[in-house]
Symmetry: C2
Subunit: 156 residues, 2 copies
């Protein structure tokens, strides 16, 4: 196991695997509930790898997944690059304050066949033993608005 | 184990984990050699998840990694979205012909602190038992040119 890179110290509270459940809403789709697992890992370099998978709470079938990298920066800033199987790639910038990370997209890219996403805002925060994750999204031509929120507990 | 989505059939030759070695060159850096592991997995949906990690051939220390999703499209087309810990996100489009995937970036995004990458071309092809992977890159203000090439064998 590599030693944590000093730059990653502000993100150490995230490291490990977390499991829980969440709910999603958006004007263009039916409300949904999901089981979620996220993992944050490091290899001793100045970034934290992030992998997320969700399953339909009813059927257990896979829903969403995403993978990317958190890049801590000086002065409490943090960057996130993210790829999604929906054909969307995001670059986000924001801050980490204590155990609260807040990020806004600076650019969102999509493949030709991807549904249009214009912007996202993401928050990851730990309160007590609970990791909360929320995403707001401007997609399908709509203003940015709440999309998903979940609560997870540490598995390892 | 989910059944492979029919849309992924053209990518079935990639599924599994592959290990091998490669070499890298670029005018702005010293030549380097690396060990590489890639995995291609599916969950029954119309995409293939891709994870890659490399280590320095001499020291064994982690070098690069990337994660993303291949999205097969009709008519032998394929899309790739990719996130990298260097702070770069790529969207690529291309073709799959037999066991040969060729992709060119349609857009490359970087965080504020990322080194500038303007474009990439990627090829993944299987010849006999060998998976070849190559990347050409236009970065640091230079024209697109060969960057890395590797050969891997199936681990599972």
């Amino acid at each position: 196991m590599a030693e944590l890179h000093p730059a990653c110290a502000p993100l150490a509270f995230l490291l490990g695997t977390w499991q829980g459940a969440g709910t999603g809403v958006y004007p263009t789709i039916e409300d949904f509930s999901y089981a979620e697992e996220v993992s944050f890992t490091h290899v001793g370099k100045p970034f934290v790898a992030y992998v997320q998978k969700t399953k339909d709470a009813g059927t257990g079938l896979p829903l969403h997944s995403e993978a990317g990298f958190l890049r801590p920066q000086p002065d409490g800033r943090v960057e996130l690059v993210l790829a999604q199987p929906s054909g969307v790639a995001e670059v986000l910038e924001g801050t980490v304050e204590g155990r609260d990370i807040q990020l806004s997209s600076t650019a969102v890219l999509g493949t030709d066949s991807a549904k249009p996403v214009a912007a996202t805002e993401r928050r990851l925060w730990v309160d007590g033993e609970v990791l909360h994750s929320s995403v707001a999204m401007a997609a399908m031509g709509l203003e940015i608005q709440h999309h998903v929120v979940s609560e997870m507990y540490r598995l390892s």
